[in-house]
């Protein structure tokens, strides 16, 4: 049940976030991204969220102006992947407070952080909502303390 990658694409086809859980060369990444962007942006809203792409399955979902795209293995559970992305959106929603594309653009570091607390090495490793957010805010605090120390010195 390994997730291969997660991409956030804007409706204009711009990459907003990308996390690859396997080693792929930059060139290959660019190729996959380009192909998927055209493929997904051209799909109509009522179409099903799963598509077969090469050896893997692509599951995507649109939230406002952003497409959340994830690649999973053949035997993985598609609906679960869909809900994993929903979980991610929920977390961001809670963290940023009504998340929007701009939040992710300007606070990409935190978006990555939330994602990493949810998924590591392609596996969902924490299914408790509270725990993920607790970790993220705990580390925010740590960072703020660093800043504070910095100012003091």
């Amino acid at each position: 049940m390994a997730i291969q990658f997660i991409l956030l694409l804007s409706r204009q086809g711009k990459m907003r976030l990308s996390r690859w859980y396997q080693t792929v060369s930059q060139k290959e990444k660019a190729k996959i991204t380009k192909e998927l962007t055209t493929l997904i942006l051209s799909r109509r809203t009522k179409m099903c969220s799963v598509l077969e792409y090469k050896e893997i399955k692509i599951v995507y979902r649109r939230y406002a102006s952003l497409f959340f795209v994830t690649g999973i293995e053949q035997n993985d559970n598609e609906l679960l992947a869909l809900e994993t992305m929903h979980r991610f959106v929920e977390h961001m929603d809670k963290h940023y407070g009504n998340v929007c594309e701009l939040d992710i653009i300007f606070g990409f570091e935190q978006a990555y952080h939330i994602l990493d607390e949810l998924i590591l090495d392609g596996y969902v490793h924490e299914s408790s909502k509270k725990e993920v957010l607790r970790r993220v805010s705990q580390q925010d605090e740590l960072e703020n303390m660093d800043e504070f120390d910095n100012i003091l010195t």
Partner: protein, 1018 residues
């Protein structure tokens, strides 16, 4: 981060790409000057953030400077700087195009090793976490299936020691009782990456695996969730642990689903822990799919449903039943529905392995069919997918007809889905129809697909055609029906002269093969073709003309067999056939024209008196000017052959009737695509079915018309394709090829029993079990194990009771108690005894729990083959592994006989006469550690199970004890007579003489008796 925000704003406000580019280039230049050795941490951090942003926008030239700066950040002791350093490194470090995975990893280790070790050893949870996260996210290389045999890193690599150090550090996080769940879960995923890179670490530390398997019983759900993939890879590495893993998962799932023991914050909307449930379900499925290579070189499953104890199996079944029940309820909310359906799909793919009843499978089918009505495209699509999986797999053990018969009522629903809005759904519906197709329902399905064909999507057409062709061929019992259906298909989608066709060439080629090989099809095929050509030509005034593929078949079949129907009516006369073909000639493609030329040539040579022959010659002449080389060549050659009289014999030889095709495999099967990949034994079953029907019924199904032997090999060809596709599926499923190819890699290879070190103090329990039928088996400060033996001929049941010793002293319960394995030393094929755990203990022991081991002696065996039972338990934070030997001995199967002294003497002599002293007798001297008197020996013999026939009174100096008994094995029973005589006067040295009815048995018994009397255990 003001500068970064400003920079982002600038880029967003850029009017065009050029301005954006300019802004970025200026920024890069300024940044380059800003990194000096005196830069303080927070400035460096800010600037690295900008670099990262620029890199993400696609400007790769900042990579080098970014890497350099992130290293500096990592070595900082400020958390936020270190974190950003790792983040940047993770994003910037990439697999270069021309780099092998090993080079990439070596490079990565070179740069990061000192930092990683420092952070892993740091006394700071957060620093540990950062390093672990980095390992998990940057080292997760894609591995190929035989990574165990061909690891990226092995012991001989120069940096193996570094890898080992890192792996060891990460492992210690996983199993340490003092670290928080947050670190544990991350560490187990990091360890997973490291195992993939360097599997030998785990294989050479065999006590690691047991501890790691324990992670799955952790209290923290996050840890369990992360442990699942780790456990998955561990059981692939050492499949012998599968048996002990399944009960753990069963209990977990049962607690979660049936007993509602899920913490509130693990609920996803109203669904308890969907992620964990699905991971666990799929892990069990993987356990069943796991195969190993047995001695015959065959792949065989490591675990079957019969290997699972009834308790766990019951739990799994009730979990499955609960989910299927849930699925038929109304669920509110899309998220909820999705989560529930996701679980249902996972359950469905597991269900067939659980030996589920027909009702259970029908229940699952019913639940899935209900979902087909869903308004959500995703659900419809995935339900179809799950149905395909379920039906393809479930037919293995069931009569295919019983499932599909009940499926009949759902067919109409699937037909409707062929018209779904979404093409993916339409395609899945098609795949499902192909999967459910069998010898009973093929007619409506094929009919429906032919009706559907003209309105279907262009890109689906070829797929549909191939599937129709395969279904029709596999199941048809009526050859006329077959040929009509197939020709109908060709006439519907036969393509146009531009060469574009919806149907691949394989389809028409296959039809031709079948017609040629089937004599009884020759004339019906010709008739159907003529009729179709007529109707197409008649109606062709406005249409594109005769479909290309149909014309190709016509060219071939009419050329060969057209004359068979020539005299039946005017319409089917040869000249009419010629006219029909000729009228289509000029509107067809070049390839078809070339074929038609051959057809005309055949007509001309075979029937030189027909009135159309001059027309053919004219056509040949005209076509010698054709611009197409192929047509020109044919026209020239045919013209010469037809017109020059001396070539007559040669020409007749050229048009000789075709021999039958001997192609055994259906070329279409390779074109099935996805469906073939999931199909598994089911398809081969159906092929066999078709074969059986054909044999029971008539000769008609013999579509290929080859002789019987060839035909069955045709079906076997189908079989082999399916089974190889099964292999490929299971390989895909299991991700890793079964290993066991090399003994060196696997320290757990059968027979290497020396690898199981026994726990200290095992001897006393083992000895006691040999003497007595009840007593204490093992005791230490945590637990006490007592046993009771129930003998029943060759079968012996050992009831063990585990008593928690720590409860009295410390008041702590024993947790995670597991009987892992009974390590039998008997050979695998034709073992001398069988040993299995029939009842498993409870995992948590407050007071006591019981488990039962059953052994069965099949044939004569030596005590030294006795099995080792291995169990693990945790008590008060300490992890314990016990490996204890239990005796499986011939002496445990002894029953007494009521022999008189006279009988004893007679038999004693008989055995001596029949088997001789070499085979039937064994005498040994023993010297027990204590003094024994006559009654001691008699009691001991009685305890073991013998009947004491005679013993001298205790007050006599010379001791003589005669005892007799019967030894039971599954194969046969043996009589045993024993005399024990004292050699000295003080009862410290004896001579035992044993006579047995079984050859060689006496020696083994003597050995056992010596060990018992001298109180030695080996």
């Amino acid at each position: 981060m003001k500068g970064l925000t400003q920079f982002c704003m600038d880029i967003r406000n850029s009017r065009d790409a050029q301005e954006e580019h300019k802004r970025i280039c200026t920024e890069i230049n300024t940044l380059k000057g800003k990194f000096t050795s005196s830069t303080n941490g927070s400035t460096r951090k800010r600037n690295v953030c900008k670099l990262l942003y620029i890199y993400l926008l696609g400007y790769n030239e900042v990579k080098e400077i970014g890497l350099r700066e992130s290293m500096k950040l990592i070595s900082s002791s400020v958390y936020s700087e270190k974190k950003l350093g790792y983040l940047t490194l993770g994003i910037l470090l990439d697999h270069e195009n021309n780099q092998t995975t090993k080079e990439y990893l070596d490079g990565l280790l070179d740069t990061t090793y000192p930092y990683l070790v420092k952070d892993l050893q740091a006394n700071n949870d957060e620093f540990n976490c950062l390093a672990i996260e980095f390992i998990a996210s940057s080292l997760n290389v894609s591995i190929d299936e035989n990574f165990v045999v061909n690891p990226i890193i092995n012991d001989s690599n120069e940096n193996a020691a570094d890898w080992l150090e890192i792996t060891d550090l990460v492992y210690s996080f996983c199993c340490s009782p003092i670290h928080s769940p947050v670190i544990k879960k991350k560490a187990s995923l990091a360890l997973l990456c490291l195992i993939k890179i360097y599997p030998n670490v785990i294989l050479s530390n065999n006590n690691w695996i047991l501890r790691l398997l324990n992670l799955i019983e952790s209290e923290d759900f996050g840890v369990v969730l992360s442990a699942v993939p780790l456990v998955d890879i561990l059981i692939h590495l050492s499949p012998q642990y599968v048996k002990s893993v399944v009960p753990m998962i069963a209990t977990l799932l049962h607690d979660l689903v049936v007993r509602d023991k899920c913490p509130i914050d693990q609920y996803y909307y109203d669904t308890p822990a969907p992620w964990l449930c699905i991971e666990l379900l799929s892990l069990i499925e993987k356990c069943f799919l796991l195969t190993e290579i047995d001695r015959d070189g065959q792949q065989s499953p490591v675990i079957l449903v019969t290997d699972i104890d009834t308790n766990s199996l019951g739990k799994l079944r009730s979990v499955v039943a609960r989910y299927i029940h849930n699925a038929s309820q109304k669920i509110k909310g899309q998220q909820n529905r999705n989560a529930q359906s996701a679980i249902l799909f996972q359950v469905v793919s597991l269900i067939v392995f659980l030996d589920a009843s027909k009702e259970a499978i029908e229940g699952a089918i019913h639940a899935l069919v209900l979902l087909l009505d869903s308004k959500e495209t995703n659900t419809r699509y995935l339900s179809l997918d799950a149905l395909i999986k379920l039906i393809a797999r479930s037919s293995v053990g069931l009569q295919p007809s019983s499932i599909s018969a009940r499926f009949e009522q759902h067919l109409s629903k699937i037909f409707i889905l062929l018209l779904d809005k979404d093409i993916s759904v339409r395609r899945k519906a098609l795949d499902l129809l192909y999967t459910v197709c069998n010898s009973e329902n093929y007619i409506p399905i094929v009919q429906k697909l032919i009706e559907y064909f003209p309105s279907s999507d262009f890109i689906l057409k070829n797929e549909i055609a191939v599937k129709i062709a395969v279904m029709a061929e596999n199941f048809a019992t009526d050859s006329a029906w077959y040929i009509q259906t197939m020709l109908k298909l060709l006439s519907l989608g036969g393509g146009n002269p531009n060469g574009t066709s919806y149907i691949g060439d394989e389809v028409w080629v296959r039809i031709v093969q079948i017609v040629v090989n089937n004599e009884n099809l020759h004339s019906p095929a010709c008739e159907s073709i003529v009729n179709l050509l007529l109707s197409d030509t008649d109606g062709a005034s406005g249409k594109a003309g005769v479909p290309e593929n149909l014309l190709k078949v016509a060219a071939f079949i009419l050329g060969e067999y057209g004359h068979l129907i020539a005299n039946e009516s005017d319409i089917s006369s040869l000249s009419n056939q010629f006219q029909l073909l000729l009228s289509a000639y000029f509107s067809s493609s070049l390839v078809t024209r070339a074929m038609l030329l051959s057809t005309f040539f055949k007509f001309t040579i075979r029937f030189p008196d027909e009135d159309f022959v001059p027309d053919v010659i004219d056509l040949f002449e005209a076509e010698t000017q054709s611009i197409d080389v192929e047509i020109q060549t044919r026209a020239c050659e045919y013209l010469r052959l037809a017109t020059v009289e001396s070539n007559k014999n040669l020409a007749l030889a050229v048009v000789k009737p075709l021999p039958a095709f001997d192609r055994k495999e259906n070329p279409l099967l390779t074109r099935l695509g996805n469906v073939n990949a999931i199909s598994n034994p089911k398809r081969s079953n159906s092929a066999v079915n078709a074969l059986q029907i054909a044999q029971e019924g008539s000769h008609k199904n013999n579509l290929l018309g080859l002789n019987e032997q060839n035909r069955s090999s045709n079906h076997l060809g189908v079989n082999s394709i399916s089974s190889s596709s099964l292999a490929s599926t299971s390989r895909k499923n299991s991700m890793y090829q079964p290993r066991r190819t090399s003994n060196i890699d696997n320290p757990f290879e059968d027979g290497n029993s020396e690898q199981v070190p026994l726990s200290p103090n095992w001897q006393s329990g083992y000895q006691r079990m040999r003497h007595y039928d009840a007593g204490i088996f093992f005791e230490n400060q945590f637990i006490k194990i007592v046993y009771r033996t129930i003998r029943d001929g060759p079968r012996t049941e050992y009831h063990f009771t585990i008593i928690n010793n720590a409860a009295k002293t410390a008041g702590t319960p024993i947790t995670k108690l597991r009987v892992l394995d009974i390590h039998s030393k008997a050979s695998k094929e034709n073992p001398s005894y069988l040993a299995s755990t029939t009842k498993l203990p409870d995992a948590t022991v407050i007071d006591k729990t019981e488990f039962v081991v059953e052994t069965k002696v099949r044939e004569i065996l030596s005590d030294s083959d006795s099995p080792v039972i291995s169990m693990t338990l945790t008590c008060g934070g300490s992890f314990n592994h016990l490996a204890l030997k239990i005796p499986v001995s011939l002496l445990k199967t002894v029953t007494g006989t009521s022999t008189t002294l006279e009988d004893f003497k007679i038999r004693w002599i008989q055995i001596g006469q029949q088997l001789g002293q070499a085979e039937g007798e064994e005498s040994i001297h023993i010297s027990p550690p204590h003094r024994l008197v006559s009654s001691n020996i008699a009691r001991l013999m009685t305890r073991i199970g013998f009947t004491v026939v005679y013993n001298t009174p205790d007050n006599e100096g010379n001791i003589l004890v005669m005892s007799a008994g019967i030894i039971h094995t599954s194969k046969s029973n043996y009589g045993v007579l024993i005399t024990t005589k004292s050699v000295d006067a003080i009862g410290k040295e004896f001579l035992i003489v044993i006579r047995c009815t079984g050859g060689g048995l006496a020696t083994l018994l003597a050995q056992s008796l010596r060990e018992i009397l001298e109180d030695r255990a080996t």
